[in-house]
């Protein structure tokens, strides 16, 4: 894409970033985080660190607690115990909009779009960087108009960066799925985040779009030098772009490290493929499965792997499920 990193790199510095400035991107540290929903333990004593300027992947079977973790970091859920430290603050004590003010942006697993055009959506992302209130907007005071124009230009650049340039003034409702997914991403980028949380950014996308998105994510990190925490089921994508991977299962951390090590971690493999009843070595042959076999299709990748691999003998409940979170919840409660 011609509108690649070039426009973003210099502009990122000039665009208003009130609380970032020259100071380095802080690390995000999750410390002993536990989240309980009335008896159901969604996250159990979870600790990991997202190093500054890296792509950190959070993976695990469905219902492992990845989205819960995202929701705690972005302030949507309250933590039962534990802390999330970012820029000398404990995010678990802050309201979502205060967390956004710190430069933490997130996308959603399901597309959450407001009405209006792509431009409107991206300008919503500029909310934390702009000041215009009701009176100033109603009267269209000059500085408000200037502010709006300036930020609209920046939003247009970000739209170009994600290949949404021609769609900038179109209603989002009429866009194709992949485009809307990119609007999500662009809106988060419009917040000029220092930590970007991506919740399944390529879910449901076409393979070609997927690789384009992977490339974009890597470019965002390189161009803006921000940290990215990503939840994704597409193992191929994770292994390709992630600098570090944390694996969750049943709310517990089961592995943490660089992708190569994760690929060969027995705990991860058993979480994804299930543990055989009697401990036979041949299972270990299936080791590279999560990395390679899951490549072409995301969610079902792990699922079909199970079907052919261990099948029905994974009665202990460690089998990866293709079911929805709710089903998993009931399973977990038992």
């Amino acid at each position: 894409m011609s509108i690649g990193t070039t426009p973003t790199t210099p502009e990122a510095a000039t665009a208003p970033r009130p609380d970032s400035g020259p100071d380095p991107v802080p690390a995000l540290t999750v410390e002993n985080l536990t989240v309980r929903f009335s008896g159901l333990v969604a996250l159990d004593d979870l600790s990991f660190t997202v190093a500054p300027g890296t792509i950190h992947a959070l993976i695990g079977p469905n219902g492992a607690g990845k989205s819960t973790c995202f929701n705690v970091i972005s302030g949507v859920y309250r933590a039962t115990t534990g802390a999330v430290r970012y820029a000398d603050k404990d995010l678990t004590r802050l309201a979502p909009h205060r967390i956004a003010q710190l430069g933490v942006a997130r996308t959603f697993q399901n597309i959450v779009l407001t009405h209006g055009t792509v431009a409107d959506n991206l300008m919503l992302g500029r909310h934390r960087l702009t000041r215009a209130g009701f009176t100033a907007s109603a009267l269209r005071l000059p500085h408000t108009v200037r502010e709006q124009r300036r930020h609209r230009e920046r939003a247009a650049e970000i739209a170009d960066f994600l290949g949404l340039g021609p769609a900038f003034d179109k209603p989002v409702g009429g866009l194709a799925y992949g485009d809307r997914k990119r609007v999500e991403m662009a809106r988060a980028l419009c917040m000029e985040p220092r930590l970007l949380l991506l919740d399944e950014p390529v879910a449901g996308m076409h393979p070609t779009e997927r690789s384009a998105m992977a490339e974009t994510i890597a470019r965002v990190r390189d161009a803006l030098n921000i940290s990215i925490l990503i939840v994704e089921h597409d193992m191929g994508l994770i292994m390709r772009i992630a600098d570090s991977v944390t694996v969750l299962d049943f709310g517990r951390l089961i592995a943490d490290g660089p992708p190569e090590r994760i690929q060969n971690d027995p705990a991860v493999i058993s979480a994804y493929l299930g543990t055989p009843v009697q401990d036979t070595e041949p299972e270990a042959e299936a080791e590279p499965e999560p990395g390679t076999a899951a490549d072409p299709d995301t969610d079902t990748g792990a699922g079909t792997g199970t079907g052919t691999g261990t099948g029905t003998d994974t009665a202990e409940g460690t089998a990866p499920d293709t079911a929805q979170d709710t089903e998993r919840d009931s399973e977990e409660a038992s």
Binding site: M1, S67, G75, V76, A95, P96, H97, I99, A100, Q101, A105, F108, N110, I111, V112, L113, T114, H115, G116, D120, M123, R126, H127, R128, T130, R131, A132, G133, F134, S137, A138, L139, R140, T144, Q148, L162, G163, G165, P166, A167, D169, K170, P171, G173, G174, L175, A176, Y177, G178, D179, R182, M191, G204, M205, H206, T208, E209, A212, M213, T216
Partner: protein
């Protein structure tokens, strides 16, 4: 964008939301510049050309400005009621249409505006039990302060309006109507009690908006009495209210409010302070109601408690539903529709079947009731056939010529808003 290029041939990329075109989702994000011109052209066709819009607008404004020269005082008075309704509906629309916060207490804030103006502008009069308080401020100042007062009343309610959302706020605000009614009846020194209070006329630097002072004012040979003069005040107020609302909606606050309606979680994560924005929308809506109430008082020349009942709140909800939630122009159209009907039915009661003019004996329906039946029907029709309201009808994409494909059937009862597909 190559994806959209793919859909240009397909009949249905209407402004309804549900085109999750998985089939069309083909291409890589590489933009195809050569394809963008037709795409642009297609999308710009959604609205009437700029020139025609401007012409329509100008014609409308000229017509409104010229009306006092041609129509009788009945029409002027009815028009002024409609203007007050337009201002109030624009305000309620900001709250209910844009932010998704239901309010049944709009009548209360209209009452605050109306009584506030009277109390601030009137000279104290009477003695003993029948005495009426008043500050005797200049009427223009009183008008502005009445709006501020209504805003302050909305602000007092903000601990509740900031926390409750949607339906729940509607129920909480229901209490306001009854509270207001009780206060109007039981503070006779301020409100005049059951019989209400007469309204001091508006007066700008000695120019009175009554039939006198200056006496016998005539413009182009047409005598300009109180209603004619007030007509232009009303027009100016509507223009200000309209522009302010439109600017708010197109600016940062409007986007934030829309986000609060569509997904609170997403809005909060984008940095929108939910409580503050909900409360702000409520306050702004109260101020609009205050302005509407004060204008209403000026037109009525008398404020009475019974006018500001629950039915008035419901009238306002009917206005914004008929007009189309979230659209300023729609709210205005709905307001005119709902405000005009009872007056028209009253005037022509004798000529219309099934109606009985008020004050006469007959077996027919009174015009007030008939008006409610009528816009009740209108609401049902709008919800079924035009979920976007009058505004939605105006913005409906014109049938595209040439491609020969039949229009995809619109599903009735589909709401204009996207289905809530989001769980955090």
């Amino acid at each position: 964008m190559s994806d959209t290029r793919d859909t240009t041939g397909s009949p249905d990329t209407t402004d309804t939301v549900d085109t999750t075109g998985t089939v069309d989702t083909v291409a890589a994000p590489a933009p195809a510049p050569a394809d963008s011109p037709p795409v642009q052209a297609r999308w710009s066709g959604r609205r009437a050309p700029r020139g025609r819009r401007a012409a329509t607008l100008t014609a409308g404004v000229v017509l409104l400005l010229a009306l006092p020269f041609y129509v009788t005082s009945f029409w002027l008075q009815t028009g002024l009621f409609a203007m007050a309704a337009v201002i109030g509906a624009i305000g309620l629309n900001l709250l209910s249409g844009t932010t998704g916060q239901l309010s049944l207490g709009h009548a209360f804030f209209l009452a605050v505006g109306a009584y506030g103006y009277v109390w601030l502008a009137a000279e104290p009069s009477g003695t003993g039990a029948g005495s009426l308080y008043g500050l005797g401020l200049p009427p223009v100042l009183a008008f502005v302060l009445a709006i501020v007062l209504a805003g302050a009343a909305g602000g007092l309610f903000s601990p509740i309006s900031g926390r409750l959302r949607g339906m729940y706020l509607g129920i909480a605000t229901l209490a306001l109507v009854f509270l207001g009614h009780h206060m109007m009846l039981n503070a006779p020194h301020v409100t005049g009690g059951f019989n209400g209070r007469s309204v001091p006329p508006l007066d700008i630097f000695g120019f009175s908006f009554t039939d006198t002072s200056p006496d016998g004012l005539a413009v182009l040979g047409v005598p300009f009495g109180g209603l004619e003069r007030l007509w232009y005040v009303g027009l100016a107020l509507v223009a200000v209210a309209w522009l302010a609302a439109r600017n708010i909606l197109r600016g940062r606050p409007g986007r934030a409010l829309g986000a609060v309606r569509d997904s609170e979680v997403a809005a909060a994560v984008m940095g929108v302070h939910l409580t503050r924005y909900r409360a702000s929308a409520f306050i702004v809506s109260s101020m609009y109601a205050g302005a509407a109430g004060a204008l209403l008082a000026l037109v009525f020349k008398r404020v009475v408690p019974d006018h500001f009942g629950l039915l008035l709140s419901i009238d306002y909800l009917a206005m914004i539903v008929i007009g189309g939630l979230g659209s300023v122009g729609g709210a205005a159209c709905g307001a005119v529709f709902v405000a005009l009907i009872p007056h028209l039915l009253t005037k022509y009661a004798d000529d219309l079947p099934l109606l009985t003019a008020p004050g006469t004996t007959g077996s027919g329906v009174s015009p007030g009731d008939a008006a409610r039946y009528l816009y009740g029907t209108a609401i049902v029709l709008v919800l079924i056939f035009a979920p976007g309201g009058l505004a939605g009808l105006a913005h409906r994409r014109p049938r595209r010529k040439g491609d020969g494909s039949p229009r995809t059937r619109r599903f009735p009862l589909r709401t204009r808003t996207a289905p809530k597909e989001h769980t955090p």
